[in-house]
Symmetry: C3
Subunit: 330 residues, 3 copies
């Protein structure tokens, strides 16, 4: 909140932090590029501190062969304690465990809970139903114990990767947010669209233009934004085709996605550039927040900016844009 | 119903008006072009009688600055009583109030309920949940009193403008229709897609081709039509680009929209032309209604026309087309 | 299951048939091309044994004029008993009755239940709600009697053709599957998108590129696949334009559809060719099933193939592909 503290009066900051949505903005993590690092690969784990992706994800799921799961868990556990959290090039260090349906999740959590440190975010793939989340919260509670995880800043990121999950997404998201309120830990912050598994599930074939997932991706964004959550777009598989990656990133941002999964470090900078808001949007955000601050100091009610009524979601959007720019440019 | 009374036997008219859906067709209001007139602009209010848009909307919401709301309410109240309802060029005079979440709605209704006359339609933006509608109906009842509004022909038009509202649209529309049945006033007749606020809500950027709202617009049309309501399409922002407006209007009509919002009088005729059904469709409607009338006189059961089973929604569509053509060409 | 019995150990076959989804794979019916034969046309009924479409549908609904319904029912009843089921060129002989809302369904079933034989599949158009299905199951039970239909292999195929049905599709499909479990007969196996009636219902105009039904068709596929049902795509109306048919078939298969309705025998081979999975997909399926069989014999838990966790839906997909290829090439 450096920018805000510099330019806005303290009473405004205090006032604004009464809003649930805006208070969370204080912990805002940009996730333009989300990069996977297989926990079975010690060499790559060692490079994590230098990785430039906004969110670096230590991966125990699809990126790790079944025969390597045990070793990957052990290496991830060591990495969690060894990583220099205060000198990371990334904004967030996540840990992706296996799905509920794989039967591997409990062993994952049993192993990594032996580390003293928690990742910035737990990441759970293939969430298919609200019931899956109950299982996930119970496993976390059992192996970590309430005391270790309550009131930490550790977030939750989940993957939607099946037809059933997409159809039931509003119920899945609202249940997850409710479970967080009851449990007091791991607030859902972002949702990721797993397009490969989704296409396999519906029997679709992926194309370069991606029309086959238009409904899925746009419904996905709508659901995420209805609950004020970040929406992370599909992987672009062809790592040599940076133009295609740039085009698909731009399309994703234009549709409302806030970031994109990347599978190779060479994709990071292209994606990060495309998911930086355009200059006019940054100016809009700065002027809106400034105007809102002035408006508040006069004690007026409803607030209008550039001909539009400004409500909390829009104010939160503006704050997120400002913080995104600050975080990634400093 | 001039056309029908001319060409159809009276028994058919009587029979047909037993169907709820078809009875309403008698009050059918075409809304191909829906034009906003800010109530803060007295000059424009004075021009309303000559405006050619099908639906002219006296606007208290986004088109009116916060500082001008009080004056706008006063001018709208006077206009409601002063306007010569029997010599309007338009088919409908609507009044758009502020949203529930703005906190301004009750003051709007308190003011305009002092006019003796009611508008043809009340128009409520940013409806986000079935609960919003309960609030709206309660405010109307409180300030108008049941007697003044029960059994009037005044309709309700609402705006869907957020991710949450789009996801919950079937429940919002069925609740609204149920509330009307209980309250006995202001039947929901049309729904408008507020694309700018929707895009702001999901963080999308609007483009000229509009792919970013394909899911939203097509889901919107499907929901409207599932409840036999008119579906009014997005604003086309670039008022100088009439070709783009024509293209987007044609696309909207092809997708099932029945009309479009316009923000400038110069857009009206382009939109109206595009939302007139094509000649073959008009002939289809006339022949279908004629065949249905003959079929009814023979007392047969199921009815088939040009190889298709004709049910009530299709019969209603045909009646609406005939009435649209009559209303806008006479 | 010829292929499987040849290449897989018996213990695996036994093991695999414990899974509900996979057990059904044993009765898998490919429905790449689904061809209508009006039951009012005796000449065409006589040609059914030679018809090459995967699924041949004796049609009592839209393809039959109201005045010809009685004759069509009589002819369909005779055909059901006369057709040489063991020497058909097609994979399935279906019977499409009229919809619940037409009021003609009960007379249809009353007539055809006099045939000794049941069709391979009953096909019911214009299903609009879970309540429609209750009516359908009750009519079947009343006229056939529980004993005749329980534990037969006769399947159910339904049509989704309205805005309301599309919105409510998850509830319609889950209700239908539940009704089958309670009733013990006519398991839902495939769902067909009726694009013409759907477009009429929402007031859309059909185009050659088909953008107006993108949301509907992609939501339709997602719903079908969420319940592991076949998804049958729209009719391509212009029977002279085989290139357009090829293009739309390829698009459908790429989006996840498993087959397409055809209205003329000349369309069959084009559609069948497009809905045959590509060579790489067939190899994927064969190798996956083989790897799974080996994996099972070692008694391991979770199973990974080509870097992806394999769950039951994917295993079922692979089995379906293998069986499709066997059925249509032998």
């Amino acid at each position: 909140m450096i920018y805000l503290q510099k330019m806005l009066p303290k009473t405004f900051i205090r006032h604004i932090s009464q809003f649930a949505g805006v208070r969370d903005a204080a912990k805002y993590v940009p996730r333009r590029a989300l990069l996977y690092v297989p926990a079975s690969n010690q060499k790559m784990l060692d490079k994590i501190p230098m990785m430039q992706a906004d969110s670096v994800v230590i991966e125990l799921e699809d990126g790790v062969a079944l025969t390597a799961k045990a070793e990957a868990r052990a290496q991830a556990t060591v990495a969690l304690d060894k990583i220099p959290y205060h000198s990371l090039a990334c904004q967030e260090l996540g840990l992706r465990v296996n799905s509920v349906s794989s039967g591997l999740l409990e062993d994952d959590i049993k192993a990594v809970s032996k580390a003293e440190k928690l990742p910035h975010a737990f990441m759970v793939p293939k969430v298919d139903s609200p019931e899956d989340l109950v299982t996930i919260y119970n496993i976390f509670r059992e192996h970590y114990g309430d005391e270790r995880i309550t009131n930490t800043n550790t977030r939750l990121v989940i993957w939607i990767e099946s037809a059933r999950a997409l159809l039931d997404m509003p119920r899945i998201l609202s249940s997850t947010l409710n479970l967080h309120k009851q449990a007091g830990f791991f607030k859902l912050d972002a949702v990721v669209f797993g397009s490969d598994d989704f296409c396999a599930d519906i029997g679709a074939t992926r194309s370069s233009h991606g029309t086959e997932t238009l409904f899925a991706r746009q419904k996905f964004v709508t659901c995420c934004k209805a609950f004020q959550l970040q929406a992370i777009d599909s992987v672009y598989i062809d790592i040599k085709d940076l133009d295609g990656l740039r085009r698909q990133s731009a399309e994703g941002r234009q549709w409302g996605f806030t970031g994109k999964q990347v599978i190779h470090p060479s994709q990071v900078s292209v994606v990060q550039e495309q998911f930086l808001p355009p200059k006019e949007r940054i100016e809009w955000a700065q002027e809106l927040v400034h105007a809102y601050s002035e408006h508040e100091s006069l004690g007026k009610g409803a607030f209008q900016f550039r001909g539009q009524m400004i409500d909390r979601p829009l104010l939160l959007q503006a704050l997120n844009i400002i913080q995104l720019v600050e975080r990634v440019q400093n």
